[in-house]
């Protein structure tokens, strides 16, 4: 039986460091199993968040050997080194050990105008074709593990951008709403002006770490960027709107429909430079 060394970051908002735990390797284990064995035998005060152990609840997000991953979906035999490093998600404030405060995401979720259907059919129901909603099914697989938010360098390495950037998880949400056949809200200006779609430089890290294999960049972010081009940068599309007398919703109008507004933002007259990076 071989041995493995788990190098786990321990600490809280006052600081911390790595502690090493040596254990025997057990065939078939995932990283979360080993963390649980450490809790049971070596460090009962080790904090880690988990729930389903099946890759569906999105609770056990952490960074394993520097890669954002779900601990319950990372098999020990796929990790080539004898020393495995586990750290909490870097993008979010630390609470304790491997547990982070992901409330940034809940704040961002409240900036998004919800699904708003138009008038129902005369019989009071809404109907849509399967072909019209197939595309959005992929986005509904999201388990909100926030690994995509964690790996996104826009906020991971430049925290000040958290004020102006919804992040990949919410671009997926926005894509599912924007592509919905019954939805009536136009969020394109909102995405461009206040939710920071332009910050994304499509380096696809969100897609790489997604445990649900959602093609976040190709199927959500880039289509949204193209829709923003339709609304704001394409003179032919502008001419088409003028001829057909179609109007688009302003960012402010869309924002009014959101459950909450983020603060401070450029809307409040506080420039981005006022906050130190």
């Amino acid at each position: 039986m071989t041995e493995v060394t788990m190098n786990i970051w321990r600490g809280d908002s006052n600081g911390g460091n790595f502690e090493q735990y040596k254990l025997e390797r057990v065939e078939g284990e995932v990283v979360l199993d080993v963390v649980h064995r450490i809790q049971a035998t070596l460090a009962p005060d080790l904090a880690c968040r988990w729930n389903c152990k099946a890759g569906k609840c999105g609770s056990c997000s952490a960074e394993i050997d520097g890669k954002p991953s779900l601990m319950c979906m990372t098999r020990m035999d796929t990790l080539p080194n004898d020393t495995i490093t586990i750290t909490p998600m870097k993008t979010f404030p630390i609470i304790k050990d491997l547990v982070t405060d992901v409330s940034f995401n809940y704040v961002m979720a409240r900036q998004i105008p919800p699904f708003t259907p138009g008038k129902p059919q005369p019989d009071g129901t809404y109907r849509m074709q399967q072909v019209d909603i197939d595309r959005a099914q992929e986005f509904h697989k999201c388990i909100e593990c926030f690994l995509c938010q964690d790996v996104c360098h826009v906020i991971r390495d430049h925290e000040v951008n958290k004020l102006y950037y919804a992040g990949p998880r919410f671009f997926v949400k926005l894509a599912s709403l924007e592509m919905h056949p019954l939805d009536t809200v136009d969020r394109r200006a909102l995405m461009r002006e206040y939710l920071g779609l332009g910050f994304c430089n499509i380096t696809k890290c969100c897609t790489e770490v997604c445990p649900e294999h959602i093609k976040i960049t190709d199927n959500a972010i880039i289509p949204l960027k193209e829709r923003v081009v339709d609304a704001s940068y394409d003179p032919i599309a502008w001419l088409g709107r003028k001829i057909r007398r179609k109007s688009k919703m302003t960012a402010q109008e869309a924002y009014e429909l959101a459950p909450a507004r983020v603060a401070p933002t450029s809307l409040d007259g506080i420039p981005a430079t006022a906050v130190e990076d």
Partner: protein
């Protein structure tokens, strides 16, 4: 109407908190132990080699056309559509009939802005060069190489939004390159035939078509912008056809890039007499 509106409550102001302590070591750019640097290193090597070769080929201004003297009709894709005045000796070089009489430099320099702009603004290449050249970020979970970051929200990177216009121009160029490939079946003084050069130009044109059509902007324009596919059956079918190609956009980007350089090299070697264009039939 939202719940907040129904209840008559004013939208809440919710703060995003920044500056709080974060976990993990702060003194390392990454904890990754795999060879994450291989991919950006390969990208830098291949793209730099291509740019170096393309610059050399574009500035040469000669050996880009194999004409009647050699019983061939092959033109380098770097020089097509050949619209400088010096191109008039190129038989059927382009169908536009426009000659830029003011241009005294290499004909390639006049037109390369279109394929260059198309690839520079391409969503795949953006990923490739942001990661490898700009180090923003070099790889997932590796620290960004820059202190400040504004992404594509400001000049000049906001200009990436013109990608679809480069697509339109690139499609026009593809038409011209396809005509070049058809003209390559004509062997002046020998009738119709098929040589290695013909094959090279045909494959090159095909790869450029597939790469262009697989583009994200093309996918969007053909059907992606529609919310109700059931009411636009033809555009839905187009979108469905493009989607599997779009999934291979990266591979197509690399293959078409390398092949276009190889096509130029082949024509150049034949035109300069270093190799003979073997006629298959």
């Amino acid at each position: 109407m939202t719940i907040a509106q129904e209840q008559g409550t004013v939208p809440q102001v919710v703060p995003v908190e920044i500056g709080k302590a974060r976990g993990g070591p702060t003194d390392k750019s990454t904890l990754r132990t795999d060879r994450w640097w291989v991919s950006p290193a390969v990208t830098v090597t291949v793209l730099t080699s291509f740019v170096a070769y393309a610059t050399f080929a574009a500035f040469q201004g000669k050996d880009y056309y194999v004409g009647a003297k050699m019983h061939r009709n092959l033109i380098s894709p770097f020089y097509s559509p050949c619209i400088a005045e010096s191109c008039q000796r190129v038989a059927g070089s382009h169908p536009l009939g426009i000659w830029a009489s003011f241009w005294n430099f290499s004909p390639a320099l006049l037109i390369l802005i279109v394929p260059l702009g198309f690839r520079l603004t391409c969503y795949y290449y953006r990923k490739a060069y942001y990661r490898s050249f700009w180090q923003s970020p070099p790889a997932c979970g590796v620290a960004d190489g820059h202190k400040n970051y504004t992404g594509e929200t400001r000049f000049p990177l906001i200009l990436h939004n013109v990608h679809r216009y480069f697509l339109y121009l690139a499609l026009l160029f593809n038409v011209v390159l396809t005509m070049d490939a058809i003209l390559a079946f004509d062997f002046p003084g020998q009738g119709i035939g098929f040589s290695v050069g013909t094959l090279v130009l045909c494959v090159n044109a095909a790869l450029l078509w597939i790469y262009s059509v697989s583009c994200h902007a093309c996918r969007h324009i053909c059907g992606g912008q529609i919310n109700e596919f059931s009411k636009h059956r033809i555009r839905y079918r187009l979108w469905k056809m493009i989607t599997p190609l779009n999934e291979r956009h990266m591979q197509l980007a690399w293959v078409s890039l390398i092949f276009v350089a190889l096509s130029d090299l082949y024509v150049r070697l034949v035109a300069s007499g270093i190799i003979h264009d073997y006629k298959i039939f």
